[in-house]
């Protein structure tokens, strides 16, 4: 088994804010291989975006403390200098964000921005670069690419702009594409198109995708593996079948139960009571314990470490103190999916 393309180990991020230290990410580990799609799922405040921004050094340096390791192709990103990161960002690790209107330069044409992306990382004759840019626009599904090169971002629709972002991200053939809520702001029909496009392009180039989202449906559509995050920590991790068909963490049960489409017959959604914790002073022990209906005393005191799900394959891990019996009982009560197998 070849080593993973990007392996994050014990990543922790603390950010100094006006009101104190925000413990945004706490000992998070995951990895992704070539050709794979990893989904990182969580609600706001889960640390999913912050953790990925910290990998490529996009957090404000002075106020941020990052510990742990993030080994990409043999190199620890967290130990890299700004120069080294500059050559990795955009070339080997590319990112696309939620709002393409603010991520694209409003005063430069689409073509100019694509050419800039090429010029930064590749040596190419101008004519060749233009040809590559036009080809890329076509490949992401923009009609009339030659004409569109001259267009400005505000002239394009949301879906088009996101396609341009994808073109810019993929034009240098990165090994990893990080998509931070890239389809959240899009209509559902456009989202379907973009997700198909992403999966298709990356399969062809054998690159990896890290897809940050809050939508478990999107994860089910596109991802191979999934990491569920809560309040800066990993709650559950595994393949998409494992986590979505045999969810084994009370938070995941809550997430799935809250989603209407899971059980169309229920008139009321099963909710997770309470609100997410403040990351300025997170709860001791397991950060989910104040909202967990199965919380034990040990949950208040001891941070649960990731351990394999009983009866599952080794790849499926959870961070929970509940023993097998209580997990089974909880899964039954939640009866989240009729396909829960215990």
């Amino acid at each position: 088994m070849s080593p993973p393309l990007l392996a994050v180990r014990d990543l922790s991020v603390e950010i100094q804010s006006e009101d104190g230290v925000v413990h945004a990410v706490d000992h998070v580990s995951w990895s992704v291989n070539r050709g794979e799609v990893l989904g990182i799922v969580g609600e706001s405040g889960s640390g999913k975006s912050v953790s990925c921004l910290s990998l490529v050094g996009l957090l404000p340096e002075k106020r941020t403390t990052v510990t742990g390791s993030a080994v990409f192709d043999g190199v620890d990103l967290l130990e890299c200098s700004e120069q080294q990161l500059n050559s990795i960002r955009g070339r080997q690790i590319a990112m696309i964000f939620q709002d393409p209107l603010t991520s694209l330069h409003p005063l430069m044409s689409v073509g100019a921005q694509l050419l800039e992306a090429i010029k930064l990382h590749q040596k190419m004759a101008k004519g060749d670069a233009r040809a590559l840019a036009i080809e890329m626009l076509g490949r992401v599904g923009i009609p009339d690419p030659r004409e569109r090169m001259k267009a400005y971002p505000h002239e394009l629709s949301g879906g088009m702009r996101q396609r341009v972002m994808i073109a810019m991200a993929l034009i240098n053939d990165p090994a990893v594409l990080v998509a931070d809520e890239a389809t959240t702001a899009l209509d559902v029909t456009t989202q379907a198109q973009i997700l198909d496009l992403l999966r298709d392009l990356c399969a062809r180039a054998d690159s990896a995708i890290v897809l940050i989202t809050h939508d478990l449906g999107v994860v089910a559509e596109v991802c191979d593996h999934v990491v569920v995050m809560y309040a800066g920590r990993v709650a559950e991790r595994g393949t998409v079948e494992e986590v979505l068909e045999r969810p084994s963490h009370p938070y995941t049960w809550g997430l799935l139960g809250s989603m209407p489409s899971v059980d169309a017959k229920a008139a009321r959604a099963r909710t997770i009571g309470g609100t997410p914790p403040s990351l300025l002073s997170p709860p001791a022990g397991c950060r989910f314990h104040p909202r967990c209906p199965h919380a034990l005393d040990v949950c208040r005191e001891e941070v649960p470490s990731l351990r394999p799900v009983p009866g599952g394959a080794g790849t499926h891990t959870i961070a929970c103190h509940l023993d097998e019996a209580r997990l089974r009982e909880g899964a039954d009560q939640a009866s989240v999916l009729s396909t829960v197998q215990w």
Binding site: P60, T271, P293, Q333
Partner: protein
Amino acid sequence: MSFSGSQTAGVADSVMIDPTLSVSFRARFVRRVLADKATIVAAVFLVILLLLATIGAPIVAALTGHGSNQQFFNGLTVNGVPLPPFSHEIANNGQPNPHGAFFILGTDRLGRDMLVRLLYGARATLAVGLGATAVALVIGLVLGMVAGYFGGVLDAVISRGIETAMAFPSMLFAIGLAAVLGAGLVNSIIVIALFSWYYPARIVRMAVRSLRGEQFVEAARSIGLGHITIMRRHLLPQLTAPLIVYATGVVALNILFEAGLSYLGLGVRPPTPDWGQMIADGVTSDLYRQQLWVALTPGLALVFTTVAFNQLGDGLRDAFAVRGSIR
């Protein structure tokens, strides 16, 4: 314990308030200001200036025994040159008289005590500066609010009015207007206000235009609130912060404007002291070449005051600023 949380509207669900969110605007504001040394210095300076101008001036006049318009023949050298700061009056032999009157900031062209005149002059400066700004704010607030809220024709008319007023060279027109109306405190206030109302008007208009689309304004309309009520209750409180910040800058401008008017003899009537006039006194017939302090003292007072207002404005703006996101 059942999972579903609650079957009722769920008092248990939403009772908790995150204490870290409860830092009030006021507390955060105070904390930021206290951390900003430059702004504190500026604020203290202005408070002291205000005190000096209002109650300090007569106190100092009583303590030194010098009136603001009292001319001291011995306040000039034998050649008629005013005295520098920390001087005693000149005795008949041409030498300083250590038992005579003492002028902390020296004297002016007519041998009057500079310090006392400076303090009394601060009254005119602050009165006109603050007064004109207040009038300008009221005019600008009303017009800006109407333009921003209603849009359409009203906005077009008011905006054109703003642009037209801004296009006029204010000083020249002010001079003309002052010449027609005559000099004096109230007239100065009117003239200056007429040429500075458009600064707050533009700010207010822009702010109201963007606030108008906010959902809480829509909500207010959906309740059936009238336009005036919405402007008063929902929009006006949001404007106080940017207006206060902006006002400090306008005060600084208006103080300079006032000094300019009085320099030209169109401000407060002499012999009432006024910083602009004092500078003019120091400059006519090149008096400053013989005694620099005659012009420098009021000039420095003007500079410090203007800088203090600007610094206060900067500091307030930073203190009011909405906290940025973590990223």
